[in-house]
């Protein structure tokens, strides 16, 4: 039964008058025809989350960081996937792009994009993390928010052809033990990849989150080397050469090495070890006051699947198991969460994860004790220490 003297129109008028007076906030009720359809969707104009980077004198070689604190679930929107380029983003016509496989093979072959898409394909959710992610935390300059501390990691669904399928097509000679994989960017970035990994789980990918790769992620073709440092996931992939030794390119024989306190350096440190970070509440955010909050964050391991994430809300005195949200996939981000009630006191929030090899994320002190504090030629790489966020009485969360 309709309430007497209270028509829908009258209600709407009253409601909009109230909004107009700005005395209360209430859910908006549409009174105008909405926008028409569009061919390629855009996010709401109210959403402003974006990649972070600072200006540099070499814009083609920089990086940009994913706003982890704004994201839900485990998939990074393609437009927010972190970037790391060494000679800018090439604009490649897919109709002219070719993949050459040669060297120690029975049949050197050239594939067009069209041919590559005819092969049996797979889609896999995998993270990619730059070797230098959280390097400033290693150095003792902790990132002020999740984006600036951990934003050089992203996770996507990648679609493509298993590399081993293409290698079988070319026929790998028994003398081959490594591959030189090379991009078609201006610097023709090249790395040496062990044949064992190439025959394991490496993907020659053309799809990202259901559509073609973004130019910044290697359009039209990239290598996806699950769990290994970002740099070897060659973007704009153009050439694969089967060889009998690592070729010692700059990005494996100088950059991306790990300089140790004894003056020696580690090289071919491919795997990104288990790591986690709380993304909410986290540095740069402000809590509205004591009460209920969900603590949430992400964990990942280049060795396999995350089996456990523990969270401490009392400055590391005690740890409790967070829930692992499904899906929990190998070499992918895993979302964790823990219900929590803030009592209004000062404290710190930390997470540490364990993977299915039994490896548990170490503290910064444990890592520094072994690896020291002397940066390599490109800073610190492969750091995976526990990250703490500090909560103050006024609700502000900071990095120290």
């Amino acid at each position: 039964m309709k309430p007497r003297g209270f028509s829908r129109r009258a209600f709407l008028t009253t409601a909009s008058a109230a909004v107009g007076a700005a005395t209360i906030t209430s859910a908006q009720i549409p009174q105008r025809l909405g926008a028409p359809r569009r061919q390629y969707g855009e996010r709401s104009s109210y959403e402003t989350s974006s990649r972070y980077f600072h200006e540099s004198i070499t814009p083609g070689t920089g990086s940009s960081r994913t706003p982890l604190q704004d994201l839900y679930g485990i998939i990074t929107p393609s437009a927010l996937h972190f970037e790391r380029h060494h000679a800018g983003v090439p604009q490649i016509d897919p109709q002219r792009h070719e993949l050459l496989i040669h060297g120690l093979v029975e049949r050197p072959l050239v594939f067009t994009m069209k041919e590559l898409r005819r092969f049996p394909s797979v889609s896999e959710i995998r993270f990619i993390e730059c070797a230098g992610n959280t390097g400033s935390d290693h150095a003792g300059r902790p990132g002020i928010d999740p984006q600036r501390s951990h934003g050089l990691v992203s996770c996507s669904e990648w679609t493509g052809v298993p590399l081993k399928t293409l290698l079988a097509e070319a026929g790998v000679k028994t003398k081959a033990s490594w591959l030189v994989v090379e991009g078609a960017d201006a610097s023709r970035l090249a790395r040496s990849l062990p044949l064992t990994k190439a025959l394991d789980d490496v993907l020659v990918a053309y799809g990202q989150n259901g559509e073609a790769l973004r130019p910044e992620q290697g359009y039209p073709l990239r290598l996806l080397v699950p769990g290994w440092e970002g740099n070897i996931n060659i973007k704009w992939l153009g050439r694969i050469q089967l060889v009998d030794q690592p070729y010692m390119t700059r990005d494996e024989a100088a950059s991306y090495t790990d300089f140790m306190p004894d003056g020696k350096a580690r090289w071919f440190t491919f795997v990104m070890e288990a790591k986690s970070v709380i993304t909410r509440p986290a540095g740069g955010q402000v809590l509205d006051g004591p009460g209920f909050y969900e603590i949430t964050g992400i964990a990942w391991s280049g060795q396999g699947s995350i089996t456990r994430v523990e969270v401490s809300t009392d400055e590391g005195k005690s740890w409790q198991d967070a829930a692992l949200n499904t899906p929990v996939l190998p070499k992918a981000m895993t979302r964790f969460s823990l219900p929590w009630r803030w009592d209004g006191g000062e404290t710190s929030l930390q997470s540490r994860c364990t993977d299915d090899t039994g490896y548990t994320q170490p503290t910064r002190a444990e890592l520094v004790a072994v690896r020291g504090l002397l940066p390599g030629p490109d800073g610190f790489n492969h750091y995976n220490g526990i990250k703490a966020w500090y909560l103050h009485r006024d609700g502000k969360v900071s990095h120290e």
Binding site: G171, V271, T360
Partner: protein, 184 residues
Amino acid sequence: MNRRMIALLVLTAAGTCLGAAQLPQHNLGRPATAEEIRKRDISVAPDGTGLPAGHGSVKEGRRIYKVLCGSCHGDRGQGFGDYPPLVGGQGTLKSKDPVLTVGSYWPYATTVWDYTHRAMPYQRPGTLTPDETYAVTAFILYMNGIVDEKAELNEKSLSKVKMPNRDGFVPDPRPDVPTKEGKK
């Protein structure tokens, strides 16, 4: 089972294994021609495999460096801002203040040649000829005291240059931090 039978079994197993994986299953792609491979293959190995014929001297390198390299890396290879230093630091790697440069840190001269050839100069990468690349490499090594002023490098001599930090690298020892299974 006699030795011949075992050998036969091993051969068969290997053959089966490789055979199944190695036969083209899809017959997609076209054969690459020797000419296109030659054009596209710029890889250079530390033993010199892949280096094109050519030569360049310190003297020629000094001239090219001044025009194409010095404005970013400094007239003496000292670096500038994000442009890394190419020179110096030898003998400092075990000190409290190690200086890591091409001269003090990079383990192979072929790496210098390859990176310069494929990725430099920054604004116009891939435009140096092999001769120019030998020359610039020679000049960078000369500034580091690794070759002398009269040196000329070519596809035979480059890989024989021993870089000071040739033996400075170790394989991945990780996990390098004691794992804390069940720490509470």
